[in-house]
Symmetry: C2
Subunit: 284 residues, 2 copies
């Protein structure tokens, strides 16, 4: 395998608000980004709802931030037709929110199996059906949909799309080819770093790489959900993965997303941002 | 995808000693299997060392148990040549132990990245080299080597072979084809249930399925290593996976392996075995 070389400097930093969600409101995050010279932001819906979409959109525009994504749509599988329809309606609403924020994409965390189900293949089929159903709405709104394959440890309860290969199969099936950008993938190093098919699937994705998320995998990892590491503190070769997305033409932001109850959520948010900036410059 | 039907009854039950490792010695496990009518056993090396290989082999033979596997060889990657050589020597010793026990296979947990390394591809190459180096020794001893792909959440520190596809690539590269059984795979439902390629990779494995391990994936899972569930308590469609291995001719044991600090390791071992037997009869 030929090793790819990353560019001298990574793309600009974007702050996923989950990184300081325990410390800061969305308003705080926007002001914090401005203060620290961070030029991208990716809000979660709970923070957005709290601030109000109009306030958030205006504030982000004033400060001049790029919205690198909105987290999140998805969660398609449900135990019955009413549940599935509710998910569709919810996804249409969040597509509209993403459009109002001029977000570069809406991140789809697709959902796991409905409670009590063991039908993983069925859940996967529901995900594809759900995306198919909202795709025209997203196209009309000008919002690219980024399927985020989640680490296989989330297959049961958060996302039954667990590899880039699977996500790209859905893109292919729904008519989004390698040169298209209305339906693609979010590449989060935390979720994909282990994948033996990583390089070839990123090559296959091509222009469909809509977002690049960074953090690190800690050894040991003490919690399946909330023990992500700061870039450089774990075992992921982040520059190698950055080189892969750059090789297919990705020239967007590096969005930092760290959920960490035991460490980063306990520190002053300004300190967290400073360290994100430093690590982004040195180990990404 | 055509759904496969499992046979009316699963293959016989085997007890992996990890299931009651906090309660019982290997001697206790052998006696417990005899008492409960369990006809297979799969010891871990620590238990084996404690009892002594000669004692264990004699006792197992007297009771008439089938040794469905020995856990474990592997752990090939190391930071330097001396470390890699030590791993080779250790693997040769455990191959001899497996032969002494007349084990159906030696399970290989291949190892993760050496401490401080971020070179996952390098670790994977070391694994293949390591297996290649011990393969003749295993063949001469009559011990089939079963590569156990571990769930991707163990890629960093336990096993950098994380899919059946990857394990079979190694088998192919080392000259073990679909009809061979000297180098194959252990299919543990816990590690592979999420894999979108599961059915096709089991078909590809064919006669190389050397072992079938059962337990369940709990929702939520509270610990990455030691929170496995009893069959039926989680979300894995075990009969569906059993049908896949049966479809390629696997007619061996169902080996139960549950590591569970919070639950099964705290219960009386006789109770655990009773429940294993009941669940094996009803939900596997």
């Amino acid at each position: 395998m030929t090793a790819l070389k990353p560019r001298a400097k990574p793309g600009p930093l974007s702050l996923n608000t989950a990184t300081v969600r325990e410390q800061w409101s969305l308003k705080d995050c926007i002001e914090g980004c401005a203060r620290h010279g961070i030029t991208g932001i990716s809000p979660w819906r709970d923070k957005l709802a709290e601030y109000g979409i109009a306030n958030a959109a205006r504030h982000i525009r004033e400060v001049g931030l790029t919205v690198t994504g909105l987290c999140r749509g998805g969660m398609f599988p449900a135990a019955d037709a009413a549940g599935r329809q509710a998910a569709i309606e919810d996804n249409k609403r969040v597509i509209d929110d993403a459009a109002a924020l001029n977000a570069q994409c809406l991140v789809l965390v697709v959902g796991g199996m409905p409670a009590g189900s063991r039908d993983l293949a069925g859940a996967r089929a529901q995900v594809q059906d759900g995306i198919a159903t909202v795709l025209e709405h997203a196209k009309a709104a000008g919002v690219p949909l980024a399927i985020e394959p989640l680490h296989p440890m989330y297959a049961a309860d958060r996302a039954c799309v667990n590899t880039l290969g699977q996500a790209l199969d859905i893109c292919d099936a729904l008519g989004s080819g390698p040169a298209d950008r209305h339906l693609g993938v979010a590449v989060d190093v935390y979720h994909v770093w282990w994948d033996p098919q990583l390089k070839q699937q990123i090559e296959r994705a091509a222009k469909r790489v809509l977002a690049f998320h960074i953090c690190d995998w800690l050894v040991p990892t003490t919690d399946l959900l909330l023990d992500r590491g700061m870039m450089g503190d774990g075992v992921i070769d982040i520059p190698a993965i950055r080189a892969m997305v750059e090789a297919v033409g990705y020239d967007g932001f590096c969005e930092v997303e760290i959920m960490s109850t035991a460490n980063w959520w306990r520190r002053p948010a300004d300190e967290v941002l400073k360290i994100c900036i430093e690590r982004h410059a040195t180990v990404v």
